[in-house]
Amino acid sequence: MTERSRLRLVVLQVLVLSLLLTLLGRLWFLQILTGDQYQSEATKNGVRNVVTTAVRGQILDDEGRSFVRNRTTLVVTLDRNVLERMKTAKEMGVLGALAKRLSTKKSKVTGPELLDRIQLCGEKNAKKPPICWSGSPFQPIPVAKDVAPAVALGIMERQEDFPGVAADFEAVREYPYPSKANAAHLLGYIGPASADEVSASQSTDHPLYASDQVGKAGLEAQYDDYLRGLPGVKKVAIDYGGRVTGTVSETPATPGDNLVTNIDANVQRVLEQQLLDAIARARSQYDKNTHKNYVADFASGVVLDVSTGRVVAMASVPTYDPSVWIGGATAKEYAALTSAASGQPLSFRAMSGTYPPGSTFKVVSSSAMLDHGYSAAGPYDCPSSFKVGPQTFTNYEGESGGRISLKKAIEISCDTVFYQQAFAQWIADGGLKPSKAKDLFINEALAWGVDKKTGIDLPSEARGSILTRKDRYDTWVANRAEYCYRASHGYPEVAATDPGRATTLQAYARDNCAPSGGAYQAGDAVNFIIGQGETLLSPLKMAQIYAAIANGGTLWQPQVAKAVIGPDGKLVKRFTPKAEGKLPISASTLAFLQDTLPGVTTDGTGRTPFKDFPTSLVPIASKTGTAEVLGKQTTGWFASYGPANAPKGAPKYAIVMMVTQGGTGALTSGASVNQIYRALLGVAGKSAPNPKLSILPGGVLPVGLPVVTYDGRILPPGSKAPKPPVSTIAPSGSSNPATPSSSGDGSTPAVAEPVYRPAFGGSARRSRAGPL
């Protein structure tokens, strides 16, 4: 061998050695120095969560009756991951065949419809929610619920014809309508967690999984954390194709807690019926202003326990059947729930709608007067009309009452008495050139919190509104150009049909175009004092205010929830009454109101509907209100509480009912409110209340809580909880003896996240009968 060969062999040796050392060094770096990071990546790589949805808690009334419970149903799901991988023709073939199977005599399903259901919301060509799928793209998408077992079995037996299709048991909400009460608005509804909800929840104690159903409205949304429970999570090792190779860990699902509400199903039912009756009553009346019967489009009612703020019943019409949400509302159903034509029945107007309060607002106005030196005795002039500049303001029916006390002014609801005070205060505040304005009535309304929320434990409560000087100015600045244009050009489009109105509007525009137009006008002040104009509040707020007058001045938070009871019967949380504020009035003023309002029912505007009521035995405090709404028929209110003479601790309720475009509160709602008091207190005819006749057991709201037994049954308050029989628990392995299907925390659906479904994929042979 030459020297050069030998040298080159040495070079080769050095090269080989250095290459091997490179490998060892790199191996050291990967495994020893950064191994932890790769290990966690490997863990993520191979592990997926199979989420078992927890059975949601029930929503109960105060007697333990279920408003919402669960039942098991057969659901057909589509796995878009499987379907997407197919050729379009084959996919449509599968969907078409499935649609054929799912179609019944009553409802026909088509393949393209199914295709729409598995499009992700926001995807190209996707329909609007809830047609499109807003959940995780990896989750099997339910496309049919309550599938007949024979149909489901037929699909499962021919898996080769239905790739990507699975049938599973799933717990769905069920609405037993206790006492025929609907309560749809209160209950709200659930739906698949949206991507935003899932990501927002990750930092909380209860992180959501994409397969979770969450409350979207009402109590279901408000108390979602309690009701939802904790999903069971089985961590399974999967291979690159998403096939399960083993189980890493498993935590069982914890069923959700039950929510006990203050709502009483019986009272709720009565209220719902009386709202319908009030509407029927209004529609049978002729409105001489509009020359047709009242439209009575919306009605709302609230029943509060005045001493705690507990919401005993609350309802709005139009409403809807909550079972529409089971399995997700169809596009048609959803459109019906939200369209203007159907009156948007999804909207809970009792708390989300605000309306001009009309004369019911006079409790605020008269308190402002009394607490600022006005005399209760008066006397006050009650002419039939009062002129402010060019405008004439009249009493509702043009009647005059002579010289009367403030009490009488409230009883007969004499507007002109209040107009005069409003105008006088407006002048005192400087009129159109205000200086050191005291704004007596505006500030009184602000102090009462008319523009604040009640704080009810339900989402989407609307806050009320009142027109302040600043609001007036801001609006004027924003609209002045339009007013000035109208002042010179008039309203030709209105004049074509209603020349009188066009003239009025033009005069109004002229006033507003003037440099003083941004000032608080006399008309504003006059309208304000009788709850007209731009003052708006919700029926719930009205009830809270009248309940405060009844209970001595405390504005309680209206509470729907009473307690949370675990699935095992343990008390999780009890809600205690919470004061939101105090009425800003003196004791004498409060006493004046408490003394005056029963007179409305006996001698004033509230007398007619309570003629047949034993008001001498059971005095009812009330105030009617009839608010004029531009371009619409009048909105009628009946705000009340009673019995006004109830001793401390005895039942006392505030009941408010209102019907839009329904005429006077007395004639439309009064009789209905009468009926609700009778039902609550057990009043028959003209006789004294008899607790036995009350729809409440013993004539009172229950103090105790319903009892949830070890096996999931629910007993009324005061029941003795049975002890679990020892023998069934011991060795049988089933810890769930005799669970009634209604309440069951038994069978729960398993939803794999993201890809794996035992029913399909490569492992079809092994788990063919699995989900069934």
Binding site: R4, L9, L27, Y38
Partner: protein, 397 residues
């Protein structure tokens, strides 16, 4: 047998004696074997067997096949390989000069057969296999490596006594001889094997004392050729993508970079002692493709950890050390060059194979010698080891 060379059998011990006495004879084959090399080889074969089994057990089970199917075939491959290796060791390598042309021509014919329509079959984009009955297949390019490890030294070692460097004619002939299989392999296309052969040529030429400027020139020519190949689109898209993914692994973690990413995760997650054989989640989850062949090292990384994976590198190091020792101590230049070719072959394949699983080399499909599953590779490797033992046994004692 060609006259002029002693019969390997008579040269190594004579007839008529008992097996036992022949075995302990100073001149016996067993005594003259390089035992360090042999033990390292058997250790690698044993580890490789376990890794192949682990890599395929779950996969075969999931497919409803015999979970020991690959294990059994691997053991058959090893057995056949040992027989081939023994046979290669027993013939005096000096007589190979006579056979070399036939070995070479046979391998070229094999490579041509692969390309012939209806004979070859395509796996992973390369048209490299000839399917045989009973699930076996032959990859002629593996045998081409053996053929070149014999043919090149033969051409370059034949020189007159006074000459210290090969003549231009010899080098040109050697290159010409190498160009035929290289061209055929590039047509498959099998980039990995092409580069292995290139490295063998370079190593053999270098140790054969070829002048440095020729080698540098050859290197430049090779680089230019590679650049041309990329420009002219000779390389397939997936091959270019692999290099792109190597340069930037995050480029397409689901596509070309996927293998590398999963491979590094598998190895990294093994840490010091690994998950234990058959317990790797990456391996059982089949996240790493081609795991019993090209990515077999990831099984070692995940399941045996740094201890096991490092041991494989050390054992390969021992094999290479012994091979280089044989090259240095060989009786003649032919033996030295043959051993050198094999060292270059093994070194490059080991570095490329392990390096790509560690993310420091681009992905090309070359097996890990003695460890990866694959009959042809196993046979070729064992024959090469037989040649090494052959050279070792016949050096002057």
């Amino acid at each position: 047998m060609t006259a002029g060379y002693p019969s390997p059998v008579t040269g190594l011990g004579g007839r008529g004696r008992s097996l036992a006495s022949r075995a302990i004879d100073r001149e016996s084959v067993l005594r003259r074997l390089d035992w360090v090399l042999t033990i390292a080889v058997f250790a690698l074969l044993a580890i490789g067997t376990m890794l192949v089994w682990s890599a395929t057990k779950q996969k075969e089970l999931d497919l409803g096949h015999d979970p020991q199917g690959f294990l059994r075939k691997h053991l058959i491959n090893i057995s056949l390989g040992l027989v081939l290796g023994a046979m290669t060791a027993l013939f005096d390598y000096r007589s190979l000069r006579a056979y070399a042309p036939f070995v070479y021509i046979a391998s070229v014919l094999g490579l041509i057969a692969v390309l012939a329509p209806g004979v070859g079959s395509t796996i992973n984009g390369a048209h490299s296999w000839i399917q045989l009955p009973a699930g076996f297949s032959i990859q002629p390019s593996e045998f081409a490596k053996v053929a070149l490890c014999v043919a090149l030294p033969m051409l370059l070692a034949e020189r007159r006594d006074a000459e210290t460097a090969p003549r231009l004619k010899d080098v040109a002939t050697a290159l010409g001889v190498a160009l035929v299989p290289i061209t055929l392999i590039m047509l498959q296309p099998d980039l990995g094997t092409t580069i292995v052969i290139g490295v063998i040529i370079l190593g053999v030429l270098a140790v054969a004392s070829t002048p440095t400027r020729w080698i540098v020139g050859l290197l430049l020519l090779g680089s230019a050729g590679a650049a041309m190949a990329i420009k002219l689109g000779v390389l397939k898209d997936y091959q270019v993508n692999r290099f792109a993914a190597f340069a930037n692994p995050d480029l397409d973690p689901q596509g070309a970079g996927y293998n590398v990413k999963q491979a590094t995760i598998a190895i990294g997650s093994g840490r010091l002692s690994g998950t234990g054989l058959f317990k790797g989640s990456q391996t059982n989850g089949k996240f790493v493709p081609e795991q019993q062949t090209d990515f077999v090292f990831t099984v070692a990384g995940e399941e045996l950890g740094f201890i096991g994976a490092g041991l494989i590198i050390v054992l390969l190091g021992i094999v290479l050390w012994r091979a280089m020792r044989i090259a240095v101590r060989a009786e003649d230049l032919f033996g030295t060059l043959m051993a050198t070719g094999i060292v270059c072959w093994f070194t490059f394949q080991a570095f490329e194979n392990i390096g790509m699983t560690l993310g420091i080399m681009p992905v090309t499909g070359v097996p890990l010698p003695l460890v990866s599953y694959g009959g042809s590779s196993m046979f070729a490797t064992m024959m090469a080891l037989g040649l090494l033992q052959n050279v070792h046994m016949r050096r002057a004692a």
